[in-house]
Amino acid sequence: MIPRSRNPFAPARLARNVRHGRFERSLSLLTAAGSVITAAEIYLEHDRASFGNRVMWWPVVLGPVGAAAGVAGFLSERMARTALPIASAAIAANGLQGTYLHVRGIAEKPGGWSLARYNIETGPPLFAPLLVTMVGGMGLLAALLRRER
């Protein structure tokens, strides 16, 4: 018998909530954290590449947006159903756009795909933008979940 607790984030309750698909709030918060962390890393990586294309700012700007939406989703159920999926969809889409741009960047390095290994290793990181899409995916998923009890 699991002892009852009022705190939805007490370990036992949390585990039960998760098992019943009730973890909207925690996943919102995770989305918020994920957004901030990826945005910080992207800022450093894109700064290293001089923000040579100014769209490289987008994922950096979307970081705080995702964070705000995630926290809002944590605090308010309504937000979890509105702001969070909108922001998350934007983040996920931005990740896909980034993947396209990184692929194009690799292709446009001298030698292009004929030097695939060298150009993938030294070009814009091929898979990194998909991690952004994953963060957006987490937010979308959160919006579909049931809220903790």
């Binding site: 700064d47 590449a49 001089s50 060298y118 030294t122």
Partner: protein, 809 residues
């Protein structure tokens, strides 16, 4: 006789099949990653060599053995040095310049080979070819040991330079020699990815004898008693400084690129993908007729000329730019190879003289659209505010007719257009750069490490190399061939930073046109156009305004060659100032040996700079100062370092095998402007029938002191970084001055707007106008001056004048 080099030989062939310190390393196995043009020139060296055309039988007998001795090449397979040098001389691929006390290279070769044979007969009563190896070596060494004395009617030191320059260039351009020294060879389109001390590409082979100590030195590198000058005022940091540098940098990276593009769209007019220049821009270029009176004709399409052409065509002027050299196509004309980049340099004849003659060509003058920026290193620091008033502040040099503040906005504009990558710059007027600092290679790492150990500030940058995308220009691939022309479009040259936009705005860049004279109206008051030679025929382009931008040797030469009744001693030469105050920077280079592999050929040669010693300091006996940067010699230039220490034969080979362990720093010493350092006309004529330039240069005592101090600092940095041995050679870098700007006609040829005092519609828009040179590389300042002058010229035109606006200043 033609010698066969085989088709590259078996994998990993070394000259003489010596056991390699890099076992199994085969540079030719990487040829799949090279571009076709480069692969062709490299494989031509291992293919069958053409028959001899230059050397006579007698000369061949001496030359063969001389080369074998100089390079210690005794066993087969041999690098076909004799054939390679013969081909160079037969095709007159010489450097163009010669010492005043030496004949041209081909004659010097004949005389010196005969001299060696004469020595043999005189000393040992036998021809050189029949002597024992020991005796031959003794005769060769005797020439070397004579230094600046005369020998057989020539200066021995210059003969030695000729011999070692040609032989080392041939030998170390050969892939077998690269196998022996572990050098990576061509690197385009694939560049390098593992930069830094001790790092290797997956295909590079480690040195099996990293500890090998080179032979004892002959004592040429004696310790200096000079200690490191006390540390000057450290660049301002502190919290406020940090915040300022962060916000300034952020402002750069967030400002919309559209603003740069609206001013200069060159980077967006280049093709995406693997071509480097859009030929349609050239084919669709507007073309003027010689009889059209264009608004502006520009002579020379280098740093200054191309910038002016771009700016004025943007302002709506009709512009023709006449360029002596070719319109480059980086894909087919440039190679990823040291020896085969000779065509980028100004190789027409020139005479050098004075107590400290300055070699020209490769080291300081380019030819073709882009000018010297095609093969410049790409360091683009600003001048310091103090540079503009050295006479007032330090009692040396000259004051400029403008201040740093007058140029600041121009500096910023050009920095964004190149664009420049680097850390926040703490020296001079502190400022950020639009692109982030590049990662450094082994050489840069050594510099940073040594500087840190000494408590000296050194920073990464500032280089005109993209670190990230810029328009359609890709990121640098760290291939290290910046001085051979960047085939990637990562390093700025005006060919890609200003020419495309000029063409898109209706300018005509007319290549292969050598300007031979500036013409004036009958009364000698205004310029009416320029005479030029194209396809062997003289032509005349009419123009309302003329700008000359041929750099510090050719601009004075053109003015001196443009005589008229009004200007019998050369155009604008009323005060005997044309051609005077030409400056070069003292550029000693110090190399240090490290047990770890440095592999300095990876990463761009320009990486790290320190301007700690830039200004005059009260604790030093000399005025003004120097900066320290790293330079990364490729094998042929590195061989020059080694031979300059007097090493040859087996000794040379031993040092060269150690190549991957050496890191090199270079200083830029501010040498003072002197009236006697000047360009005049020689008796000799070039292929256009014009008298060639004679450039005489001598240092003053202050110059020598600054150079010595810089050498001491570089040796300290390298030793602090852990170098076990250091060696220094003396060189020069850059040219500026020759038609300096000043406040009035008695002190200079042009005013602050680059307009000549003597002819109101004639401008000089290149490096020749600099009154002093600072310790900074000059290209950025040249371009900034032209940016400013262009704005003034356009503003004046709107006011109905055809000369710059406002009062002279």
């Amino acid at each position: 006789m033609a010698r066969e080099g085989g088709s590259g030989g078996p994998p990993g062939t070394t000259p003489g099949r010596r056991p390699s310190r890099f076992p199994g390393y085969d540079v030719l196995a990487q040829a799949g990653a090279w571009d076709a043009t480069t692969a062709a020139v490299v494989f031509a060296r291992t293919a069958r060599q053409p028959e001899l055309r230059f050397f006579t039988l007698a000369e061949e007998a001496v030359a063969t053995l001389l080369f074998d001795h100089l390079l210690a090449q005794w066993d087969d397979p041999k690098v076909p040095v004799l054939e390679m040098i013969d081909a160079r001389l037969a095709e007159r691929q010489t450097d163009g310049w010669r010492f005043e006390d030496m004949p041209e290279d081909d004659t010097a070769w004949r005389l010196s080979l005969r001299g060696l044979d004469d020595d043999a007969r005189e000393w040992y009563d036998a021809p050189f070819a029949e002597l024992s190896p020991e005796r031959r070596a003794a005769l060769i060494e005797a020439v070397r040991a004579r230094g600046s004395d005369r020998w057989r009617g020539l200066t021995a030191g210059h003969v030695w330079g000729l011999w070692t320059r040609y032989t080392a260039t041939a030998f170390y351009s050969h892939p077998w020699a690269w196998n022996e020294i572990g050098y990576g060879g061509p690197a385009y389109p694939r560049g390098y990815m593992r930069l830094g001390l001790g790092l290797r590409e997956p295909w590079e082979v480690p040195d099996t004898e990293p500890e090998e100590a080179p032979p004892e030195d002959d004592g040429s590198d004696d310790k200096r008693d000079d200690d490191l000058p006390a540390r000057p005022g450290a660049p301002r940091t502190g919290l406020a400084g940090l915040v300022r540098s962060a916000t300034d940098t952020l402002r750069q990276t967030t400002s919309p690129l559209g603003r740069v593009r609206d001013r200069n769209a060159s980077a967006w007019l280049l093709p995406r993908g693997d071509a480097r220049f859009d030929r349609r821009l050239v084919e669709g270029m507007r073309r003027f007729d010689d009889r059209d009176e264009v608004d502006l004709v520009v002579v020379g399409c280098g740093a200054g000329g191309a910038t002016l052409a771009q700016r004025m065509s943007r302002y709506g002027w009709s512009v023709v730019c006449l360029e002596a050299g070719p319109f480059w196509d980086p894909d087919s004309d440039w190679v990823s190879d040291e020896a085969a980049s000779h065509h980028l340099y100004w190789n027409d004849p020139r005479v050098i003289a004075g107590e400290d003659p300055v070699p020209l060509g490769a080291n300081n003058s380019g030819r073709g659209v882009g000018g010297s920026t095609v093969h410049f290193a790409g360091y683009v620091p600003r001048f310091h505010p103090s540079d503009f008033r050295t006479y007032t502040e330090d009692g040396v040099g000259a004051d400029w007719p403008l201040d740093y503040a007058d140029l600041r906005a121009s500096y910023e504009r050009i920095e964004q257009e190149l664009p420049v990558a680097g850390q926040y710059w703490p020296w001079g007027d502190p400022h950020p750069y639009p692109h982030a600092p590049h990662p450094v290679g082994g050489n840069g790492e050594v510099f940073l490490r040594g500087a840190a150990a000494l408590g000296l500030e050194a920073r990464v940058g500032p280089v005109a190399i993209t670190n990230g995308r810029f328009g359609n220009r890709p990121h640098c691939v760290y291939r290290g061939f910046c001085l051979q022309g960047c085939k990637v479009n990562a390093k700025a040259s005006t060919l890609i930073t200003h020419v495309p936009d000029a063409l898109a705005h209706g300018a005509e860049i007319r290549a292969q046109c050598m300007v031979t004279g500036v013409e004036l109206d009958e009364r000698g008051r205004l310029a009416t156009g320029v005479r030029y030679v194209r396809d062997g025929r003289e032509r005349f382009q009419r123009a309302r305004t003329v700008a000359v931008a041929g750099y510090s040797i050719e601009t004075p030469r053109l003015l001196l060659n443009s005589t008229s009744r009004r200007f019998p001693d050369g155009l604008c030469n009323d005060h005997d100032l044309v051609g005077r105050y030409v400056m070069v920077q003292g550029a000693p280079q110090t190399s240090g040996r490290f047990t770890q592999e440095v592999r300095s050929y990876k990463a761009p040669p320009p990486e790290v700079t320190s301007e700690e010693f830039y200004e005059t300091r009260s604790d030093r006996p000399y005025r003004r100062g120097f900066s320290v940067q790293n330079v990364s010699p490729l094998p042929i230039v590195w061989a020059e370092h080694v031979t300059a220490q007097g090493h040859w034969g087996e000794d040379l080979r031993r040092y060269m095998r150690d190549y991957v362990h050496w890191a090199t720093l270079g200083a830029l010493c501010e040498l003072l402007p002197q009236p006697g350092n000047r360009v005049t006309l020689a008796e000799e004529k070039d292929r256009y029938g014009l008298p060639v330039a004679r450039f005489s240069y001598s240092q003053c005592e202050n110059d020598r002191q600054v150079i010595r101090a810089a050498e001491a600092v570089m040796e300290d940095i390298l030793r602090a970084a852990g170098a076990s041995e250091v060696m220094t050679i003396n060189r020069y870098a850059h040219l500026v001055g020759g038609c300096r700007m000043a406040r009035d006609a008695a002190h200079g040829v042009v005013d602050a707007d680059l307009r000549t005092f003597a002819v109101p519609n004639l401008l000089l828009t290149d490096g020749s106008v600099l009154p002093t040179q600072g310790s900074a590389n000059p290209a950025l300042t040249i371009m900034a001056l032209v940016d400013r002058a262009a704005g003034r010229l356009a503003a004046g035109a709107r006011a109905g004048l055809r000369t710059p606006s406002g009062d002279r200043r």
